[in-house]
């Protein structure tokens, strides 16, 4: 599942700098991917671009946005279930110049 931000968000912005994929944007801000810009997914509060979210697979042991969110509003999207393989492949696609080590409990929440 991609992570998404619920309407409980208070726009504190704590999550945005924590995302290793720059998948988080403030409400109303256009998002970018591979040189193209797209309309904001939310105009009211911070949002996560599903195509750029890897649930921190390949980077951290758990979703960093959820770890720092003071109001627990960064949650798995039940409408977008995704496997670890899909998320890991996305991480590699997003960071083509980076050499990823084999996944471990430190780099995938699926390995706990």
């Amino acid at each position: 599942m991609a992570t998404f931000i619920t309407e409980e968000c208070i726009n504190c912005g704590a999550c945005e700098p924590e995302c290793p994929n720059t998948a988080i944007y403030a409400g109303g801000v256009q998002w970018e991917f591979q040189g193209a810009t797209h309309d904001a997914i939310s105009n009211d509060f911070y949002y996560i671009v599903p195509d750029k979210c890897t649930e921190c697979v390949g980077h951290f042991e758990k979703e960093q946005c959820a770890a720092v969110c003071p109001v627990d509003c960064c949650v798995p999207d039940p409408n977008k279930p995704e496997t670890e393989d899909v998320l890991y492949a996305r991480a590699k696609q997003l960071h083509p110049d980076r050499a990823f080590a084999e996944l471990s409990p430190a780099t995938s929440r699926f390995r706990k």
Partner: protein, 130 residues
């Protein structure tokens, strides 16, 4: 206790919920003791009432519910905070929001917003000092 707790509670009791959340969040981020859960409960409470002020009932209900859950282990008081009245008021708000879920937000009949009271234990009870 850190002065940010004092400041955050002052903002909360003044109805400045966004500011209260902001100050308490700053404290919570760097506070790593197990009872940081209570700080987060206070943040949930502040955000819940902020959402209520802005007509976001769903967000309010969810935040107050999280606050109640996380606060439960610290009832009836912790540090110098009298938590039971705050907890009771949040539960009352949740129940009333549920009962009036079909009512326009600006027509909701809700109780006065709670204050976070402070005090200390004395023989035979708890003395509220604020």
């Amino acid at each position: 206790m850190d002065e940010r707790l004092d400041l955050g509670i002052r903002e909360f009791n003044g109805g400045r919920y966004f500011e209260a959340h902001d100050i308490l969040e700053d404290f919570w981020e760097g506070y790593r003791e197990p009872d940081r859960v209570l700080l987060q409960a206070l943040i949930h409470a502040a955000v819940g009432f902020y959402h209520l002020d802005n007509g976001n009932l769903k967000g309010c209900r969810s935040q107050l519910s999280k606050a109640c859950t996380k606060m439960r282990a610290y009832l009836p008081e912790y540090w110098d905070l009298l938590l039971e009245p705050l907890h009771s008021s949040m539960k009352e708000h949740i129940d009333l929001i549920d009962e009036q879920r079909h009512t326009r937000t600006d027509s909701l009949d809700l109780p006065v917003r709670p204050r976070i009271q402070r005090g200390h234990r004395v023989a035979g009870g708890f003395l509220s000092i604020s």
